[in-house]
Amino acid sequence: MIRFLIRRLALTVLAVWGALSAVFCLLHFSGNPAVLMAPIGSPPEKVAQLSHALGYDRPLAEQYASFFGDALRGHFPDSLTFQQPAMDVVLQRLGATVLLAAVALAGAAVAALLVGLWTGSREGGGARREWPMWLVFLTQSVPGFYIGVLLVWVFGVELAWLPTSGATTATSIVLPAVTLACGVLPPLARVFRNNLRGELARPYSRTGTALGMSRARVVRHAAYGSMLPTVTVLGLEAGALLGGTVIVESVFSWPGVGQLAITALQNQDYPLVLADLTFLIIAFVMVNLVVDLLYGVLDPRVRHQAGESR
């Protein structure tokens, strides 16, 4: 378990390092950020001065090093648009995204569980029980922004039941969360259902029946086994969710870090872009780390590291 932890942590650090390096390269291949940061109409001396103040005239290697130091401590220059430390801006926007993502993820997980149990547990199945999977399949094929647009149209505009933008009332979260959940539900539902079927087809489920267990009990045991891959996908999807928030937040004007990333990019607010991306990357990697650790807790085989791979 300890070794597993160490290995996993090493991978995590590596991933963060690689991703941040990629971000650094992208930013620096596109020219001197100071040019953009200086107020409009600034003379070249002024730009040079600013460039110096922000350290953009130092050798790239040195900048790279300090970029890392700063990134890991969450130190970024002030946001150009918000005129305060970029990380502060990100952190202030964080709550909204976390709330949205958590609600969406929880909703999707519950829905996936229900769909999976409904369609995956019955022996033989039959086409009549398949319809939720068709629905899931459809969801999977609809672009997130389109779902958002349709939801706004139907529930926000035509029926006027729900607010369509911002995060002001308790019901504001419904539409964006549903939209976001629609993106996560398909993989979750399918993994859970397919694995449930898989587990039910495994010899141990048959053993359970042979020992006199009821179908419900057999399904319950199998469901536990199918949770493991589902949790892995959940972790990966949590990452995709962070990307998905970019679109959903801009459809619904949800004041989170996703929308922030877009406006920061549009405003060429480099420090903010950096802070936002760094944050999202680290969050993504951490979520997956947690998921892997969770896997270790859930699966006795991983926990004991018997040396046998599955």
């Binding site: 290995r7 033989g124 006199g212 179908r215 086994g225 085989r301």
Partner: protein, 592 residues
């Protein structure tokens, strides 16, 4: 009618058919047999003959996609078509099942104690703690050390044999009247198999339950069962008391089956009887389909005694002139002074540890030598390092230390290019007939992969196919058309293609049904003699090694326990381990 048969049967299967309409498979066709209280019935047959399908039908475990007709009566109660409730009541309580691979058959996410306790609580209204106590009690009963502690462990923390004991404990926790054991020992080493079978027999005596033992091993039948049901293609071709079936079976298929297994007491190196040959000798040509007809009795006038064992070893075309054992060269004997073809000295192979696994010395200071034309056997239990040695010989695995000299040249240090040239010297026959052929390449391309393309190659491939007894037309076919035995012949043809002098055969028959096994063993023996090939024959099955090899090395935990002539090893084993191995090998001759 004997005494026993007058007792009312516990389980009565009559006219049972199991079909899978979706797959278009009729797995079981109108079989009828009975189990009386307390007796052990063997269900034997080759792979796919419907043994498991029959066993599963008894407990109604087939699911909705199977169509089951006929009748299964347990103590008079009809089970075919019985409601889920009724079945649930008797599953595990009156009838239990032990499955083949206990690693899969046990829930990997739950402790073994919890699983046994749950099995108990399913049928007994007791408290959790009480069920736990009972679970520990059963673990102790099946011979698990420190049962209290081990009950809290997970299946993967147990060895194969122990898992099978746990499985048995779970099946017996409610003291059922009948246990159906579906190949409970197939995945186990001979010594472990012996222990598990012994345990089963002991518990049976103690609890007085009846056992249906599904197996394809006549050795196990001979050792455990009082009666045998022989299945072929979903039909019961014959049933009766074990003794009679093993000696004077009425059905030619049964006789052929018994005869095709190498035994500890026959003459090594003689040609094994194969099923088609035996059947043809007994009743004339019959096709495979009609062989399943139980009514196909042996015509009167067939040789009595042991009719299935042909008297002369020289049957069929292409006999080698010398025959017999004496023609085999032996290193250090016979052709004294000649250099060995292969000389392995202090070979050690260590698999590096990973972050999750400590390093493993799979082969430890191994020495042996093989003379040109000699057949050398390597026997040992699973994980003893047999395959690792063969992989080193073929350059698929680096040697840690020590040397392997082939024809005087140390090939452990051979470069890639040299290795390619050496391919003409050493070739390999693989174990798995399915995995060893590229499903996407034609047979001819597989056999001739290393030969230059052209008409010459085509001719050579055709010649090789003929030599291994296959139709040369098959060169254009894909492997999915071939049966296991045919595939193994293709594998042998491929190994012969570069014209090697040493053939390494790593468990070449362990994946094959016994009837096919005999054919492949015969082919190997014949090729070796015709071509004067030296062979390293690797197996976990002592009877097969004894049959094939004149000298034998016994491997254990990567070390060679002893090396010697066949007779010496078999009759005067120099180590306790070898002796245990010989004793654990079930033989159909042993009394039930």
């Amino acid at each position: 009618m004997t005494e026993v048969e007058r007792v009312n049967p516990l389980l009565e299967v009559s006219g049972l058919s199991v079909a899978f309409p979706d797959a278009g498979v009729e797995a079981v066709r109108e079989v009828s047999w009975q189990v009386r209280p307390g007796e052990t019935v063997g269900l034997v047959g080759e792979s796919g003959s419907g043994k498991s399908a029959t066993g599963l039908a008894v407990l109604g475990l087939h699911g909705p996609r199977a169509r089951i007709t006929g009748s299964i009566r347990l103590g008079g109660q009809e089970l075919v078509g019985a409601g889920e409730r009724t079945l649930r009541e008797l599953r595990g309580r009156r009838v239990s099942m032990v499955f083949q691979d206990a690693l899969d058959a046990l829930n990997p996410y739950r402790t073994v104690g919890a699983q046994i306790a749950e099995a108990y609580r399913l049928h007994h209204d007791v408290k959790r703690s009480e069920a736990r106590t009972r679970a520990v009690e059963l673990l102790e009963r099946v011979g698990i050390d420190r049962p209290g502690r081990r009950a809290k462990e997970y299946p993967h923390q147990f060895s194969g044999g122990m898992r099978q004991r746990v499985m048995i404990a779970a099946a017996l926790v409610n003291e059922p009247e009948l246990v159906i054991a579906d190949e409970p020992t197939t995945a186990l080493d001979a010594t472990v198999q012996a222990q598990v079978l012994e345990l089963l027999a002991e518990l049976q005596r103690e609890m007085g339950m009846a056992v249906v033992l599904v197996t394809h091993d006549f050795g196990v039948i001979g050792q455990m069962c009082s009666r045998v049901v022989v299945m072929y293609r979903g039909r019961v071709v014959e049933q009766g008391p074990t003794d009679r079936i093993l000696t004077t079976a009425e059905h030619p298929y049964t006789r052929a089956l018994v005869a095709s297994v190498p035994r500890m007491d026959d003459t090594p190196g003689t040609r094994l009887a194969t099923v088609p040959e035996t059947v043809a000798a007994l009743v004339g040509p019959v096709d495979e389909e009609s062989l399943a007809d139980p009514a196909l009795r042996i015509p009167s006038g067939a040789p009595a005694g042991n009719p299935a064992r042909p008297a002369t070893p020289d049957r069929g075309p292409g006999r080698s002139p010398g025959g017999g054992v004496g023609a085999e060269p032996r290193f250090g004997k016979g052709r004294g002074g000649e250099d060995p073809l292969l000389q392995v000295r202090s070979l050690t192979v260590t698999y590096p540890g990973t972050l999750t696994r400590p390093p493993l010395k799979a082969v430890d200071d191994v020495d042996f030598a093989i003379a040109p034309g000699e057949s050398f056997g390597l026997v040992g239990e699973s994980g003893s390092g047999k395959s690792t040695i063969s992989r080193v010989l073929l350059g698929l695995q680096r040697a840690g230390s020590g040397s392997v000299h082939f024809d005087g040249e140390d090939i452990t240090r051979a470069t890639r290019r040299r290795r390619r040239e050496l391919a003409a010297g050493i070739q390999m026959v693989f174990q798995d007939p399915y995995g060893s052929l590229n499903p996407d390449r034609r047979i001819g391309d597989t056999i001739g992969a290393a030969l230059p393309r052209g008409a010459a190659r085509r001719d050579r491939v055709a010649a090789l196919l003929t030599e291994v007894g296959l139709d040369p037309e098959l060169a254009g076919a894909y492997p999915d058309r071939l049966s296991g035995g045919m595939r193994q012949r293709v594998g042998i043809a491929r190994a012969l293609a570069p014209g090697p002098r040493l053939l390494v055969a790593d468990e070449p028959v362990s994946a094959l049904d016994v009837s096919v096994q005999a054919q492949v063993l015969n082919l190997l023996t014949q090729l070796r003699r015709d071509r004067g090939l030296a062979m390293l024959f690797i197996s976990h099955d002592l009877t097969v090694v004894r049959h094939m090899c004149s000298r034998i090395a016994v491997l254990r935990h990567g070390r060679i326990v002893e090396t010697g002539d066949r007779e010496q090893i078999m009759e005067r084993p120099g180590s306790d381990y070898t002796r245990a191995l010989i004793e654990a090998t079930p033989s159909p001759r042993r009394p039930a």
